[in-house]
């Protein structure tokens, strides 16, 4: 099966959810005109990233009527976007949801919230706990958010749940300007190359652009494929809507050429993990 995916590399306005919703609708409209079947926005695309004390002011439950105009468009195209979620448990999460045919298919809460150096996420948001795979018309999808992508354990969990396509939704600030590419871009591309190769998945990496308090989000969105191709490469630092048509057949091909999945044994993983957890009192 072939699926046309739109990568919405946008620059959200910090804290202005109305304007950001408009921008979403504009990009969705363009993606529909181009016959895309899925559109993916970056992390916190509805709110912007460096919210600090604004976090509480822009938090919305996933079923808020604020999202209705976007929900309506999901009749014509599947939509994944990021928002600050006000959970029914009275906690706040860095979340992303996937809409299909006017209903919420999945809400994912970011698990690893960086809180060091320039990052302050755990000061303002709680951590999610569950990596899920959900069935769409276009195969099994999972969402991971930004820092999650630097934890191979989470990618492994999507792999173990037979995810075909991982949506990696990001707000990655640029750092490292000595080489041809920013160092962070090099890191992300190497990681995605490795995951797509060994887990024979597609990874749709959508990173935002724009500046917030001096942090410059670099963009450079692309789709990594199991056969090591990079599709729909968006240039850095520019708002862009790019398109990639992925062929899920590639997963099957890759898994025959390089049958790692067939060798995989979750019992071995579990037994070893149990032992490690026991020895370390449940801590890493």
């Amino acid at each position: 099966m072939k699926v046309k995916i739109a990568l919405a590399q946008i620059n959200p306005l910090l804290g202005d959810i109305e304007k950001n919703r408009e921008k979403h609708l504009k990009f969705i409209e363009k993606a529909i005109e181009n016959n895309a079947q899925v559109i993916v926005f970056p992390e916190l695309s509805i709110t912007g990233y460096r919210l600090k004390d604004l976090t509480m002011e822009v938090a919305l439950p996933s079923d808020s009527s604020f999202f209705n105009p976007i929900l309506k468009q999901s009749k014509k195209i599947d939509i994944a976007f990021g928002f600050v979620e006000r959970g029914s448990d009275s906690n706040i999460y860095n979340s992303a949801m996937y809409l299909e045919n006017q209903s919420i298919k999945s809400v994912y809460r970011k698990i690893y919230l960086p809180t060091h150096g320039m990052f302050q996420e755990l000061r303002f948001m709680g951590r999610g706990e569950k990596v899920a795979t959900f069935k769409t018309r276009y195969g099994n999808f999972s969402i991971l958010i930004c820092r999650d992508l630097f934890h191979p354990s989470l990618l492994f969990l999507t792999y173990a749940q037979k995810t075909d396509v991982v949506l990696g939704m990001s707000s990655m600030p640029l750092r490292g300007l000595t080489e041809e590419k920013p160092a962070i871009q090099e890191t992300v591309e190497k990681a995605i190359d490795t995951y797509t190769n060994f887990f024979s998945q597609f990874i749709v990496f959508v990173n935002r652009v724009g500046f917030e308090d001096g942090l410059g989000f670099y963009g450079g969105s692309f789709v990594g494929t199991p056969l090591g191709k990079k599709l729909a490469f968006a240039e850095i630092l520019q708002e862009k809507l790019t398109f990639a048509t992925i062929d899920l057949e590639e997963i099957y091909k890759k898994r025959q050429l390089f049958p790692l999945a067939r060798e995989e044994d979750l019992n071995i993983v579990q037994n070893n993990l149990n032992k490690i957890l026991e020895e370390n009192y449940g801590k890493f």
């Binding site: 509480m56 320039m118 600030p173 640029l174 750092r175 300007l177 308090d213 001096g214 942090l215 410059g216």
Partner: protein, 273 residues
């Protein structure tokens, strides 16, 4: 109106200890204060004298030709009352030398310019006197951004920066500051007839209620309006808070290196303590 009551005896003790420790741990014994004769600077002068001793506090009185003469009188009365050092530096000549070359001067430009001239003199005097510059900004004006960036906001510490204006009236009375000074209409005195409440479009009792509901109690705009506060004033105040955030933060650096000022070079202010 919200409840603003505080234990002013404890507040006084706390702020005096703060001034002592901040000034001394930075390697100083003395401070300079731009003393306008208004409630805030007079109060800071009282507290500084208690913390550092009268011989270590110098008031710099800097009138401009349009300044209300009563302000200078109140400043001088404060100096006499406290027995602190003082200097009077009339800034008319310095400011007018610039103003006369400029074609269209607005009140705001003039007001900001005067505030920054005073800042310049204050920092120069702090060097001469080997002293720190005491800030006189209060919580109401810091939150609303109702002050001149790099002007009256420029200081080494803000001893009364967490007290709303409404609380300063009570605190000043507790500190036995003469009623004549406490009862004056609050004004930056940057042009004749200027008052805070006229310029902000509301009474401090309303302003501070809205501020504490939003800032301290984290009520939303709609919740505050539903409590009976005027929508226009609430919106005006919340807009001022947001619009002036730049005054309360260092300017953004275009970050690309591993550690960057203002972002992830995170030493405390009191690094050398």
């Amino acid at each position: 109106m919200e409840n603003f009551s505080l234990n002013y005896e404890l507040v006084k003790k706390f702020i005096i200890e703060f001034i002592k420790e901040e000034v001394h741990s930075n390697g100083f014994n003395r401070c300079v204060i731009g003393l306008s004769g208004g409630l805030d600077s007079v109060l800071v002068a009282y507290l500084s004298k208690e913390a550092l001793g009268k011989e270590n506090v110098k008031a710099i009185i800097m009138p401009y030709k349009t300044s209300n003469p009563a302000s200078k009188e109140d400043a001088l009365a404060t100096v006499t009352q406290l027995g602190i050092l003082h200097e009077i530096i009339d800034i008319t000549k310095i400011a007018d030398a610039y103003f006369k070359e400029e074609k269209e001067m607005t009140n705001i430009r003039m007001g900001n310019f005067l505030a920054r001239i005073r800042m310049n003199i204050l920092f120069d005097k702090s060097r001469e006197f080997r002293a720190l510059v005491m800030g006189t900004s209060n919580k109401s004006e810091l939150m609303l951004g109702y002050s001149t960036w790099h002007g009256d906001m420029a200081a080494s510490l803000y001893p009364i920066g967490d007290l709303y204006k409404t609380q300063l009236f009570d605190f000043a009375r507790f500190m036995q500051i003469p009623e004549k000074i406490v009862a004056k209409k609050p004004s930056a005195d940057l042009w004749p007839g200027q008052t805070d409440e006229k310029e902000l479009g509301a009474k401090y009792s309303q302003i501070d209620s809205i501020l504490t509901l939003y800032v301290d109690q984290r009520k939303t705009k709609d919740e505050i309006i539903a409590m009976g506060y005027s929508q226009k004033i609430v919106e005006n105040m919340l807009n001022r808070i947001k619009k002036n955030q730049f005054k309360r933060t260092p300017p953004p650096v275009a970050k690309f290196s591993p550690r960057t000022f203002g972002i992830d070079f995170l030493y405390p202010h009191d690094l050398t303590k």
